[in-house]
Subunit: 355 residues, 2 copies
Amino acid sequence: MKKHNFYAGPSILPEYTKEKTAEAVLNFAGTGLSVMEVSHRSKEFVAVVDEAVALVKELLKVPEGYSVLFLQGGASLQFLMAPYNLMGLKAAYLNTGVWSKKAMKEAKFFGEVVEVASSADANFNYIPKQFDTPADASYLHYTSNNTIFGTKVNAPEANVPLVADMSSDIFSRPVDVAKHDLIYAGAQKNLGPSGATLVIVKDEALGKIDRVIPTMLDYRIHIQNESMFNTPSTLPVFACLQTLRWLKELGGVEAIEKINIEKAAVLYDEIDRNKLFQSTVPNKEDRSLMNVTFVMAPEFAELEKEFLDFATAKGMIGIKGHRSVGGFRASTYNAMPIESVQALVDTMQEFEKKH
Amino acid sequence: MKKHNFYAGPSILPEYTKEKTAEAVLNFAGTGLSVMEVSHRSKEFVAVVDEAVALVKELLKVPEGYSVLFLQGGASLQFLMAPYNLMGLKAAYLNTGVWSKKAMKEAKFFGEVVEVASSADANFNYIPKQFDTPADASYLHYTSNNTIFGTKVNAPEANVPLVADMSSDIFSRPVDVAKHDLIYAGAQKNLGPSGATLVIVKDEALGKIDRVIPTMLDYRIHIQNESMFNTPSTLPVFACLQTLRWLKELGGVEAIEKINIEKAAVLYDEIDRNKLFQSTVPNKEDRSLMNVTFVMAPEFAELEKEFLDFATAKGMIGIKGHRSVGGFRASTYNAMPIESVQALVDTMQEFEKKH
């Protein structure tokens, strides 16, 4: 039976990425050695990092004056590194869910954290849009996509630079990098396997804070050493490069955005049409293109377990919703083919007929 | 031509690890999905971490009361996490080279760092053995193997708990874990690909310091979450498990130690016999079993480049010495077959005949 991988992360990757990675685990760049067993300073591996950095810059149209890094520790370590490097006495955070809150927690070590707005009052099922950002905040932080709650955030208007956690939707839609002092993303959604962390940081934004920064947490150290201050996560970075090549070949971020909009529409339309189900995000413009969250309609609430079993039997993997929202979550990252989305829609319609 | 992989790290891994990893990149645990694209919380991946932790405990005879973690960031991040979690007003460090110095640098954020001894006076070509450790130090830190300088350090006698960076020789010889509050190791020598970091920490040693620890740097958080506070580096951890299985099958740490001693002896004997070369570590008991460093004898100094080219043409990879020592470095980690060591010895003898 064909399986459809709706995991929220680590999540579906292109066949190209899997094939090229499997090959390189056995024989990397014609060396006869595994990509796992060559020095990160070998010319073959340095070429991997250089090409990956160049493709990130090309695909996201990164302006001059920004550095692209591949680090470790995921977004969770960036929650700490961002304020360590960029926050003066105050920083502003938009609270759109669990990941925003985790980011705020680490910033509180360094000074005053201003929560400019929050959708906690409705279990984060919408994105606040009217708020003021203090002019003396070092930055405004936002989470561009909220995997758990199925919402997306467009870059807010603010009179201070932006910092964004784009872990779960980077490369899914264009981004105006120039508005940001920092963008970071764990690789394990649209980029590659977990264990690599993408960082895009404005060089000029660094070194302004009078604070001693531990070596490994200092972006300047990693910039000076071109992501090789310590041994980078070589195999995951190699896999990320394959996904970047795949995305470029496919037409880049603009091309994948169209596909993502189409895929999401197929699923949201079914959720809105099918009486058994309902979206957890009433405001359509706030709905994520990456994580489609939905629940049983109240009058069919008792069918939740039955639908989960029914869909699982049909090959749908990873569609159980996060415990804080319940119901279902279908993650439709870049590598997800529309056929898998259609298979889920078919399953929902079959289940509807059954009841 | 057969290649012989003498890289210092990332470095040679068992064929078993490479084959099983390549397989799982395409189809993991019969899921039909890549190990890169399944949730870290899936039952299949949780089983990977559980088995890896159990094998670490078995192979290193880890006593009760210790936790085994797979984190990210390599030893370089552990240089910071170790004092963050364990250091009170003072900590003691044995300085046996570059990596010890990097560890000391991070500890200085937290208090007084006492360098109990140093071999800097002889470019770290020996291990100091007579020194006193202040009784009020929170721990004595040492680097068990110095890749750059080709030396090894046995667990020092001290009246305080030990902390050890075992990145480059863990699983190569037995270790008395009970003497240590903390052992850490980047995976990329004897364990797996870079991007995973092994931590073995004594539970009782934690929580004694009155210091607020950022979430990602707090061992207790990672222990409570069984290495899944954030998404672990899933593909590297999977590969580490394969190496642990391979090592167990081979007879464990005691069995590999015998092989390592035999391999190193073949090479050191040749270096000591061959008039063209000399070891950089005069004291035999200080010589590393993992990284054999040697230079041209002074009267043949001008042959250095020629030998490097000669050996490279014979399939020897990664034998150029670190710039701070010069000459050559042949890393003979667990997975290195004795045939490769013999091939290098043959090459040295051929070169000798040529001159």
